[in-house]
């Protein structure tokens, strides 16, 4: 029964007025900021996605013509449907993000579990080691893989030196390199929520299950795994959603045919200077992501309520 949960009663008094004004001030500053710089921009993107490109500054037609008539068009969206490039890029983005999320889960889950079960004294150090790469430059960590995966990179040189191969394996500029890059960059985002879920889980539960005759792997499958599902979902969303729109990794590690929607949007905008189509791509990307984002939001609210 904490004060935070108190609702506003109908009666009003001096105290209520003071609180309301103080509180109003505190919440309205960040509120207005976010409305102006986070929500309003989406409305503008939507507006421009309905405009036609022109060669001017800014390079699109206004929503209302000089005579005040509405001149919206869904041509840009139809264009996305007609040109298979966009459909392929969307599907490819989803595929790459999905597979990378799975890879993150496969590598991250045992790590999170291992950290959660390690002695308290070294647990924080291990956790710190997970977070540490996150504090160093993302761009440079992707760049590191360029040096490793290149034809005359670390892996190929090593394998050739060992005599395993005579010809370098083509790893750069492929979907494979993108998987590696995304998995590598987003792994901490998977481990942290997983760790939080697993750490909360009392080891007594597993011991109780084993005491009741459950074999260790079965205890894991029936006790630990189901109870860590919230962590799995949270981690997967934290990896999947931004990975779908990833730009840096496909443009540095991917090949010319590994299309991802973030890169298409970038090229549309910077290369073709077609702002309306870029906006339409962004809106379509948001539509694809709206379900996972809402799921993420609901999880946040539920955690907050718990």
């Amino acid at each position: 029964m904490s004060g935070a949960a108190s609702e506003e009663p109908s009666g009003s008094g001096r105290r209520r007025a003071f609180w309301l004004s103080g509180r109003g001030l505190v919440s309205s500053i960040p509120y207005l900021w976010l409305l102006l710089f986070f929500l309003l921009p989406f409305a503008i993107v939507l507006k421009i996605s309905l405009a036609e490109p022109i060669i001017a500054q800014p390079p699109f037609t206004p929503l209302f013509g000089p005579d005040g008539s509405l001149q919206a068009t869904i041509d840009n969206f139809l264009f996305l449907l007609e040109d298979s490039l966009y459909i392929v890029a969307y599907l490819n983005s989803l595929k790459i993000a999905g597979i990378s999320t799975l890879l993150c889960l496969l590598i991250g889950y045992p790590m999170a579990y291992g950290i959660a079960r390690s002695p308290r004294a070294i647990r924080n150090i291990l956790l710190l080691l997970v977070i540490l790469p996150f504090w160093t430059s993302f761009l440079l960590r992707v760049y590191a893989w360029m040096g490793i995966l290149r034809n005359n990179g670390l892996i190929n040189n090593l394998l050739m030196w060992l005599g395993v191969i005579d010809q370098p394996i083509q790893m750069m500029n492929s979907d494979f390199a993108i998987y590696i890059g995304i998995t590598y960059s987003y792994l901490p985002f998977m481990i942290l929520p997983l760790y939080a879920a697993l750490e909360r889980l009392s080891p007594d539960l597993v011991e109780a299950a084993e005491d009741l005759g459950c074999r260790p792997w079965k205890a894991f499958l029936t006790i630990t795994l189901p109870l860590s599902v919230p962590g799995i979902i949270a981690g997967s969303l934290l990896v999947f959603i931004p990975a779908v729109g990833e730009f840096v990794i496909p443009s540095l590690l991917g090949g010319p045919d590994s299309l991802m929607i973030g890169r298409v949007l970038w090229d549309e905008f910077f290369g073709n200077r077609d702002w309306p189509v870029a906006s339409a791509v962004a809106i379509a990307l948001l539509l694809v992501l709206v379900i996972p984002i809402m799921l993420f939001q609901r999880m946040n609210l539920r955690r907050e309520g718990a």
Partner: protein
């Protein structure tokens, strides 16, 4: 008689029809209560009975949905917490972790703009009162649980509030310390002469600590009275059950004369006699309630107005007392407790013994519900 029984005594704190709703749920549902100067008043009840919400409304953290609160004649219903002459000792103690003991205690005085010399003197005095003088420079995390509790108390007392609210003051202490602290709390209250309102779920604590108790149930006050009144003359099954344990016999009033009721209990197949001044219609439904320690247990027939036969089903030896569960002929189980005053040479009542249970007409109470 105690002074809050004087008819001309003016209540110090008065609650009038106080209601607090959270959405559809009424946490406090129409509480009216008078509390007098220098009382040590307990709000007693299980979790979720509304006692903490009531306390928080007194402190000013919650606003009543309806009703008024008056302190010393002034309406304080809408006063913010920082303007009430009331202080609260939190269950978690809520000491400021980044301040020393001294600064914690001085905090309230600083808010009131008391002169520095005066603050120093009063803080020293308060720390003396709770015997924490030597620990003034420590931080809260450098203190034991009992010491923290005393800092929290000193922090409230130093402001000389008109009313001190204590939320489960002893809950965080271990058993031994709790007993000691309980008496210390009573002594301090006597010394400073401030009215205390204590919220607790522990009936023993409430019984030994308070001048009066309000037993709360589902947002309402079930009964208000001195510890003796509440224990000896519970007004409802809830109160009777909540404080101590008790046996109930359901029946109908058969006769009512000269301050004595005769109640027919179909389950027992016989009548019970209860002394009561209450006027009850013949045939109305009542329960006869008897405390286990008021029942005499014997292997020989008893010469008492109420007597039943049964068989000992269960027996617990607790040192100074033994607790029996006796199965009556109709299958009902009766709890009986008896002091172990007999000599060991005598054969005691044992498992499966046929026994007689008996009690006086004055030992039971009649409850209508």
């Amino acid at each position: 008689m105690t002074k809050w029984r004087k008819p001309d005594e003016v209540p110090f704190l008065r609650l009038e029809g106080v209601v607090k709703r959270f959405g559809d749920f009424a946490a406090v549902d129409g509480v009216s209560l008078d509390i007098y100067r220098k009382e040590l008043f307990c709000l007693l009840g299980g979790s979720g009975c509304g006692k903490t919400t009531l306390l928080r409304m007194l402190a000013g953290f919650e606003q009543p949905t309806a009703g008024r609160i008056y302190l010393d004649g002034a309406d304080i219903t809408e006063a913010p917490p920082y303007e009430r002459p009331i202080n609260m000792m939190f269950q978690s103690y809520a000491l400021f972790p980044h301040m020393s003991v001294e600064s914690n205690v001085a905090f309230g005085l600083k808010q009131d703009g008391v002169a520095r010399v005066e603050i120093r003197r009063r803080v020293a005095e308060a720390l003396e009162l709770v015997q924490l003088g030597p620990l003034a420079k420590r931080r809260p995390h450098q203190l034991s649980g009992g010491q923290r509790q005393r800092v929290a108390l000193a922090r409230c007392l130093v402001k000389r509030p008109k009313l001190l609210l204590l939320d489960e003051p002893l809950a965080a202490l271990d058993k031994k310390l709790r007993e000691h602290t309980q008496f210390e709390l009573m002594n301090i209250q006597e010394e400073v002469g401030i009215t205390f309102i204590v919220v607790t779920h522990d009936q023993e604590e409430a019984m030994s600590l308070s001048t009066r108790i309000a037993v709360m149930d589902r947002g309402q006050i079930a009964q208000v009275g001195t510890p003796t009144e509440i224990y000896e003359y519970p007004k409802s099954r809830f109160t009777a059950n909540f404080i101590g344990s008790i046996n109930f016999f359901d029946g109908k009033v058969a006769r009512s004369e000269e301050g004595e009721l005769t109640v027919t209990v179909p389950d027992l197949g016989r009548d019970l006699h209860v002394r009561s001044t209450r006027q009850l219609a013949i045939g109305s439904d009542v329960s006869v309630a008897v405390r286990p320690e008021k029942i005499v247990i014997s292997r020989d027939p008893l010469d008492l107005p109420n007597s039943v036969r049964g068989k000992v089903r269960d027996l617990g030896y607790l040192g100074s007392v033994s607790v029996y569960r006796v199965e009556l002929e109709n299958g009902a189980l009766i709890k009986v407790s008896a002091a172990n005053t007999r000599h060991s040479a005598e054969r005691e009542v044992d498992w499966d013994d046929e026994v007689y249970l008996g009690w006086r007409a004055t030992s039971a109470v009649v409850l209508t519900e």
